[in-house]
Subunit: 325 residues, 2 copies
């Protein structure tokens, strides 16, 4: 199966590196909106200009879209789903229904298959929520993120005047996780679930107290959390905060039996050294499933909820039953 | 959707109790090989003789088979899959390919849909293994069971002369779990992964030293494990070991990136107060999916690997995307 990559940032590079772990998937090229002559891939995969997607659509079984959810994917995914099979990692939860509808219309109309919101959240965490809810209909689930770098929150800090660079870690509150794991199903406010830790490089002469106040009071991003702000040098930021680790847990506590006498706790958790490389690996498995579904004539927009798990695996159904069931 | 139960032991009673949590599923009756007049259900569901399955097949959308894997299901599932849609929890891992083939032939030939090996292992743990393997192709996974009651091991102890009753707990070795969670991917022997704890009620005058020796040296069941044996009174067994708790973890550690520089650890874990009630709840969700697949003309034998997750849920695809993605 021939795979293309559109967009060559952290996620695109992750797909390129991870593809070597999926021997049934062949990387045919990277497409970029930059001048292809200025882009050098890590493993020597050819680079094409984005406009070549039109002429090379026949060479691509599935295109993995590695753009951002804020401004790229809302336009890019429906436009390209009209021309080929695509996979994206659209993660603006509130706008998923609208994105799904637009992609579905484009893919259905042209006989293609598209999968949106692949990755781990949305993605594997969504699957965990679904499986946990069907197994324990009477219960309550919780999602904790971190300890990990939130790129959206890091960007929000960088937009503050006087900030040269920043890295923000989302951290689950240990006591909250402990109570949820114990099956207590507590009511938890936003503040009780996560804290936020900011590492900031200020411009010389910038008013650090003002920067700190602007971070702590920023609505949506920080105002509802206990936030700590540390000022460090550019060298320290590069040395100690260069990685993009992330992870988290989905936990559901529920009951069964007479008088709800039996309590059960389910948990799915991830500890990731590299958020983009792990996300990329899930997207490659999604691309495999999309290619198979399209060959069977199963067109339109899909999410991981619609994908039979076996379609994600390179193994045959017989091998899967023998080795993993 | 109308659901029947065949077999009224712990698992059958679990299905009966859990069905109240699945409002779209209606329990039409319990079928038993015992004299129906001697069976009283917990919630007043009608009881029928097993032979009535023939005449009442038209009243059942999906029958949940609550027999044992050793002697019941190998005959029962193929025989009944020829007459109606069925779900079972067949858990003899080594014999799954053979069981699948026989059930598939029976179901396909008669236009029915059957799902085998539902529950949590095989079942949700199998799904965890599959999703983890596709997300992290380069890695190694581990399954730990417990702390929980193994009915097979408890039964094996009960067959020893001089034993009146027994309860066996499977316990994961903490240090092994810690190393696997840390992403070390160690090589572990059977003995290094689990210990076995036995609570035994001996007949009066029985040779306890001999019983203990027979337990510890029993091949397959105990010889490869560090086993502790405690003799207690019948009253103590009833008071302290009446429940059927179980659980465990599937953990996979793997790497991505240049020179495998990034390490990731995925974990799915369960802590269950009642193994049969939790298993039953998963089987009910499987029954929902089987009913839907059969209505769409998707016949033959399935496992959870073949079921699109959305088919397990009572929610519509739109609701699922809005609430869980």
């Amino acid at each position: 199966m021939k795979i293309g990559i559109f967009g060559y940032g952290n996620l695109g590079r992750g797909v390129e590196l991870d593809a070597r772990l999926h021997p049934d998937l062949e990387l045919m090229g990277v497409f970029t909106r930059r001048d292809p002559a200025t882009v050098k891939t890590l493993t020597g995969v050819p680079v094409y200009a984005a406009k070549e997607l039109e002429t090379r659509a026949g060479e691509i079984d599935v295109l993995i879209l590695c753009g951002g959810s804020a401004s790229d994917l809302p336009e890019m995914t429906p436009a390209l789903a009209a021309k080929m099979n695509v996979v994206d990692s659209f993660d603006t939860h509130a706008r998923i229904p609208e994105h799904f509808a637009r992609v579905d219309e484009a893919a259905r109309g042209s006989g293609h298959t598209a999968l949106i919101s692949g990755g781990w959240d949305p993605g594997l965490f969504s699957l965990a929520r679904l499986y946990m809810n069907v197994a324990l209909p009477a219960g309550k689930d919780y999602t904790f993120w971190g300890r990990g770098v939130s790129q959206g929150h890091s960007d929000a800090i960088r937009r503050i005047p006087g900030v040269r660079d920043a890295r923000q870690y989302t951290i689950p509150v240990e006591d909250a996780v402990r109570r949820v794991r114990a099956g207590e199903n507590p009511e938890l406010t936003t503040r009780e679930k996560h804290t936020r830790e900011c590492w900031v490089v200020a411009e010389e002469g910038a008013d650090r107290a003002l920067i700190e106040k602007q971070i702590r009071e920023m609505p949506n991003y920080f105002a509802d959390y206990d936030t700590t702000v540390h000022f460090i040098s550019e060298e320290e930021l590069k040395r100690d905060h260069a990685g993009l680790p992330h992870g988290g847990s989905v936990i559901r506590g529920g009951t069964t039996g007479e008088g709800d006498q039996h309590r059960h706790v389910m948990e799915f958790s991830l500890k990731l050294d590299s958020n983009p490389e792990f996300t990329a690996s899930v997207l490659l498995a999604c691309a495999r499933a999309v290619g198979r579904m399209n060959r069977r004539g199963d067109c339109g927009c899909k999410t991981l909820f619609d994908v039979a798990p076996a379609d994600l695996s390179p193994l045959s159904p017989e091998e899967l039953r023998r080795r993993m069931l």
